[in-house]
Subunit: 209 residues, 2 copies
DNA sequence: GCAATTGCTGACCAGCTGTACAGTACACTG
DNA sequence: CAGTGTACTGTACAGCTGGTCAGCAATTGC
């Protein structure tokens, strides 16, 4: 080894560099050489450790997913705090996660399913205990709930720009918009049923056809 | 020209092919040759019409943005129906839009800002007219509202998979989860203020530090 | 000691990339 | 008719891509 500990093992450095670059530019837009340069190693070493670019991508997927899963423990997915912790995850990981969902990485898909399942159970329990309102379609509601909580992963940049906040991955930014989100989830936005009624009308019209 | 109208002018065919492929694989992951092949032309023609790959991308951006803007007219952005129409836009365009937001295309950013502005005014009006509840932070609420409505663009694939629906871009899929969304926006999810209170506690704790 | 393993590199390769360009076919205009 | 412009093609090219490989240096195991 070079120095006493060399900051981080090269393998981890490569993985982190890949995480940042893949998150920022997309997997296809980043060359192995770019990853290697950022990690301060030769591009051959990347192949040596991960076998192929696809191998590197899979490792990144697995790592990010394990971060989310392993962070506060499995049962943490059962409450809001766990999901909130996930949203507070470090910047590059957020970007990467958002992209992984969009690119349809199988690991990400499995994670999404898992979160929806947990959320559905959690909301069901909430209905039983009285702190959550009953919904017409619990499965769809859980899916929407999860999608909405995940949305800042994909749109965080725009969210913070619109709010005039400097750093999209800043905790303050997250706090400000999550407040608005929690407010909606608690009180709703619409004061009466007119939009719901309008939606029913659309459904009815569509069924008639 | 070849036949009477040749289906579509080559230029439009190329743009459509690019839209599909870019949306599916990302701009960096698609070669000009792939676009040309799908459009049934030589790759040199792509350059002839668009000058460069970047030129093609910009044309795609502009086209999609104009679709969204021009569809139901400017004032349509003022109501939910307009946004709903946007979500019903054709499949490839949806994928492309989602990716454009994630990639931070300037055209997409401007569109996002525009929608948030319109939504903020619209909600303000709603509060005045009594059909929308007042919110603590109207700007943040408008931003979150827009982000949530846009979220299915990025997560539509997962949404429909989780709901067991075959086609992510199917109108039926959209209808099912939008119903759940409207329900949340009308009645909320949480029956009491405990999550809101928990959020306040987090803010207080953070301010203390 | 010495052999095996591991981390790591530079040189090399075939293939694909975006782009340039000369040239063809065809429609106009004069 | 020549002349001009436009849609379109095939070929060519420099540069970068992911991946291979032989080999160096340090560590490990015996």
């Amino acid at each position: 080894m070079r120095s006493d500990k060399d900051d981080l093992k090269a393998r981890a450095r490569i993985r982190n560099a890949a995480l940042e670059l893949f998150g920022a530019e997309g997997v296809a837009g980043v060359s192995l050489r770019a990853v290697a340069t950022r990690a301060g190693v030769s591009h051959a070493l990347v192949l040596h450790h991960f076998g192929s670019k696809e191998g590197l991508r899979k490792e990144c997927d697995a790592y990010v997913v394990s971060l989310v899963r392993g962070g506060p423990g499995v049962e943490a997915l059962e409450d809001t705090t766990g999901l909130a912790a996930m949203l507070e995850a470090a910047g590059p990981v957020r970007r990467y996660l958002g992209r992984a969902f969009l690119d349809g990485a199988p690991e990400a898909a499995a994670l999404y399913d898992e979160i929806v399942d947990a959320t559905e159970r959690w909301l069901e329990q909430g209905v039983a205990e009285g702190w959550a309102r009953p919904g017409e379609d619990p499965r769809a509601r859980a899916a929407i709930y999860v999608t909405w909580l995940l949305a800042p992963l994909a749109f965080g940049e725009h969210l913070s720009r619109v709010l005039g906040l400097p750093d999209p991955h800043d905790l303050d930014a997250t706090l400000r918009y999550s407040r608005a989100g929690v407010e909606i989830l608690t009180r709703g936005v619409f004061a009466d049923d007119r939009v719901l009624t309008a939606w029913e009308a659309v459904r009815k019209e569509r069924r008639a056809r």
